[in-house]
Amino acid sequence: MSDENDGEKPIFFDLFCYMSSSARALVDEPKLYGPLRLLETMERIIDVMETNEMSDEFYRELKKKIEENKYTVMHDEERFIEFLDEIVKMLAKKEKEFLDQ
């Protein structure tokens, strides 16, 4: 990446702000907020992908699934962990598609 970006914010700058603040906050926060923050980071990366025309239906579905389920962390730990497994499975399936290409 060039140093001469005309003072424009690099596309991941906001993400760095979020991730660094999360890193610091998680030192003192409940254990399950760690996974929650990682999922939220994924959502934000998908937003960057959308803005830069790198996304597709799979990532939109992924983001929708995260949005719909992430708050179960607040009141239903079992369901939250189940949902984490579902996300991993979804990505593993996609990975297999890449391998089979």
């Binding site: 906001d14 702000c17 999360s22 926060e29 939220e40 009141h75």
Partner: protein, 172 residues
């Protein structure tokens, strides 16, 4: 006020994480701030300072507040004036009581908001140093809590509550 009205408001308040893209009137904001003004505080020190933030500064604060996930039109950054707290109330006030006082004032805001159809959410996960930088806070104003405020898109179902027996011990 009819008996039971306040309990109804208390039970109907929710933590809102999805807001409409709608400005909140200055009159409504002022009633929320007025409700905070009337909160009790240790030795009546009233060491809370409320920063009402919207626009670009709000967007910047969001980047350093992992707990602030929604798009509220406005936030209240509730700070402790630790200088006033310590001068008038000593170390106990500065370290403990003022935090409690801020939480009480915040709850007044949340209940008043709920009673006029607005939503709120307590945000405890934010980077104090970043917020101080963005808002150019004086050294003696310490951000303790953020409240998001806006018109809710939807009202979530209430989370499960422990029953009274679990919470209470009767002592005679």
């Amino acid at each position: 006020m009819v008996d039971g009205d306040l309990l109804k408001v208390i039970k109907e308040r929710r933590s809102i994480r999805d807001y409409k893209d709608e400005e909140i009137s200055k009159e409504s904001i002022k009633t929320l701030l007025e409700s905070a003004r009337w909160a009790p505080s240790g030795s009546n020190i009233q060491a809370w300072r409320i920063y009402v933030v919207k626009g670009d500064k709000l967007e910047s604060i969001k980047k350093f507040s992992p707990g602030l996930l929604s798009d509220p039109p406005i936030i209240f950054v509730m700070c402790a004036d630790i200088e006033e707290a310590e001068n008038k109330g000593g170390k106990l006030s500065k370290d403990v009581l003022t935090k409690m006082d801020i939480a009480i004032a915040a709850q007044n805001i949340c209940l008043q908001a709920s009673s006029i159809g607005l939503g709120t959410c307590y945000i405890g996960s934010f980077n104090k140093k970043a917020i101080r930088e963005i808002l150019e806070l004086p050294d003696h104003h310490v951000p303790e809590l953020i409240l998001t405020v806006g018109r809710p898109k939807k009202i979530p179902d209430p989370p499960k509550r422990k029953n009274l027996d679990e919470l209470t011990r009767w002592v005679e």
